[in-house]
């Protein structure tokens, strides 16, 4: 509800509409779009102009140029060293600013060198780094050809999706960037309605749930509340997280549409999915797809190549799921609970895969029962939902408190 954000969004829409109407060439129109994204981020106090100007912008210039160099060098296959240097630069930038241990260590190095420089977390950098890796990998493989700096800036700094996604792909974004999707009255109404729905989910429904959802997560109340109260509180927390994040995604999709960009959908009824693999295909879809394409598939492919004759595909699947989600956990935050949350999901996905494998030869009647009857579907949805909810306890608390919540949920202590 930051009025500066809405002011910037309206300014952005007006300026880009004017550029589309009167911009003599697509070159001018595209630069207006890229420049307004950068200017908007510079003006948002929560992000801060100094990190954007002196950290994010140089980083993006470096990533863009390294991508160009990789393309000229014939991609990762022909120049592995350049590829890994290019990928490690944004990863190191994120690691140094996001994780307190590295931040403190880097702070010491900086002050020992006599520089006055505060190393602080940079808003939106986690997503920026994943977008950068996607750009570098795809430029390197030839899936992205002839990138332009203005479209790369527009893609990485796009106001609607900068803070937390949905995470678009450069080649898809570029189509809308170069040929903005026309905005009819009907489209404008639908986009505005999407924003209203998002605001309602995020600032009314989620806010109403907030007090109840978090009540069991504060120490005095956690110690005294009954297990049933804590169960209800945990359910409310799961609902709140969904409403808050899908509401935010609605805002991003609606505001993106006003700017001529069709931002990809990010949620597809995740709490109604019948297993954890389906859940991750329906929750924060753009991040899940990124994890699948840039971590899970390469890890799985590499392990498959090294598989010995007679080796088990299930072991490879488990190793790929756990490694991918461990990285996803670390990416989400600075704390052991995030790593454990990732491993927990990786193990859940592995068990789900094993279950699919073990039940595959069972008679069709079993599959029909599980997939077509209300009881079978209901059981699967309930199990999946509770698995996810237990993960959210890990995600939303430090490890000590999470263990306390689990004990209280079980009626212990």
């Amino acid at each position: 509800l930051n009025p500066v954000f809405w002011g910037l969004l309206l300014g952005n829409v007006a300026l880009n509409a004017a550029a589309r109407r009167w911009g003599r060439t697509s070159y001018i129109r595209e630069w207006v779009f890229a420049a307004t994204q950068l200017a908007s981020l510079l003006l948002i106090a929560d992000i801060g102009w100094k990190p954007v100007l002196f950290f994010v912008l140089p980083l993006l210039v470096a990533v863009y140029l390294l991508g160009k160099a990789l393309a000229l060098a014939g991609g990762a296959r022909k120049n592995r060293l350049l590829f890994w240097v290019a990928v490690l630069i944004p990863v190191a930038a994120l690691a140094i600013t996001k994780y307190s241990i590295l931040r403190v260590a880097m702070g010491r190095i900086v002050s020992a060198a006599g520089w006055q420089l505060a190393i602080v977390p940079v808003a939106g950098l986690s997503y920026l780094v994943f977008k950068s890796i996607h750009y570098l990998v795809d430029v390197s493989s030839g899936r992205i050809s002839g990138p332009t700096f203005r479209s790369f800036l527009g893609f990485t700094l796009f106001l609607s999706t900068y803070p937390a996604g949905p995470m678009d792909r450069y080649d898809r974004f570029r189509k809308d960037f170069e040929n903005p999707v026309p905005l009819t009255c009907q489209d404008a109404f639908e986009a505005t309605w999407r924003i209203v729905v998002g605001l309602f989910k995020k600032y009314v429904l989620a806010a109403l749930l907030a007090r109840f959802a978090f009540s069991a997560f504060t120490t005095p109340e956690l110690a005294s509340a009954s297990p049933s109260t804590i169960w209800m509180s945990v359910y409310a927390y799961a609902l709140l997280i969904y409403l808050d994040f899908s509401g935010y995604s609605d805002l991003a999709i609606g505001s993106g549409r006003l700017l001529g960009v069709v931002v990809p959908e990010n949620f597809r009824h995740p709490y109604l999915k019948r297993n954890i693999i389906e859940f991750w295909n329906a929750w924060h879809i753009t991040l899940s797809n990124w994890l699948r394409d840039y971590l899970f598939m390469p890890i799985g492919k590499a392990l498959m190549k090294r598989k010995r004759a007679g080796g088990s595909n299930l072991t490879i699947a488990a190793a790929s799921y756990i490694a991918t989600f461990a990285v996803a956990g670390i990416w989400h935050g600075d704390g052991l609970n995030f790593l454990l949350w990732g491993v927990y999901n990786g193990v859940g996905l592995s068990v789900c895969k094993a279950y699919g494998q073990w039940t595959r030869p069972l008679p069709p009647a079993f599959h029909r029962f599980m997939q077509e009857t209300i009881f079978g579907k209901g059981l699967a949805v309930a199990l999946t939902f509770h698995f996810v909810v237990a993960g959210m306890v890990l995600f939303g608390n430090d490890l000590t408190r999470a263990m306390l919540v689990f004990r209280r949920l079980a009626g212990i202590g």
Binding site: A76, V137, I277, R292, F296, M297, P298, P364
Partner: protein, 85 residues
């Protein structure tokens, strides 16, 4: 024309639930949840062995394996690529 019988056999024997009808040439395999992303990796490993090709997952999107027709197109492209390479 690419022989898709080995692919159909592999899908039926290794990836699809027992007794499920065989998808048509243009029916989605991955995007409707018939096989998952690891199933696509298993399919790729099978294709590499069966057809003697090397499929670079960085060059192919997962949706390139979403239907039987698309799978046979990938096989044809990779065989052609190898021939020219």
């Amino acid at each position: 024309m690419m022989d898709k019988v080995p692919v159909v056999d592999y899908l039926r024997k290794r990836l699809l639930p027992a007794g499920s009808p065989m998808p048509g040439d243009d029916d989605p395999l991955f995007s409707n949840g018939l096989i998952d992303s690891f199933g696509v990796l298993e399919l790729i490993a099978f294709l590499e062995e069966e057809y003697g090709i090397n499929i670079d997952t960085a060059k192919h999107h997962i949706t390139d394996f979403d239907t039987l027709r698309k799978v046979t197109q990938v096989i044809a492209q990779e065989k052609e690529g190898r021939g020219h390479g």
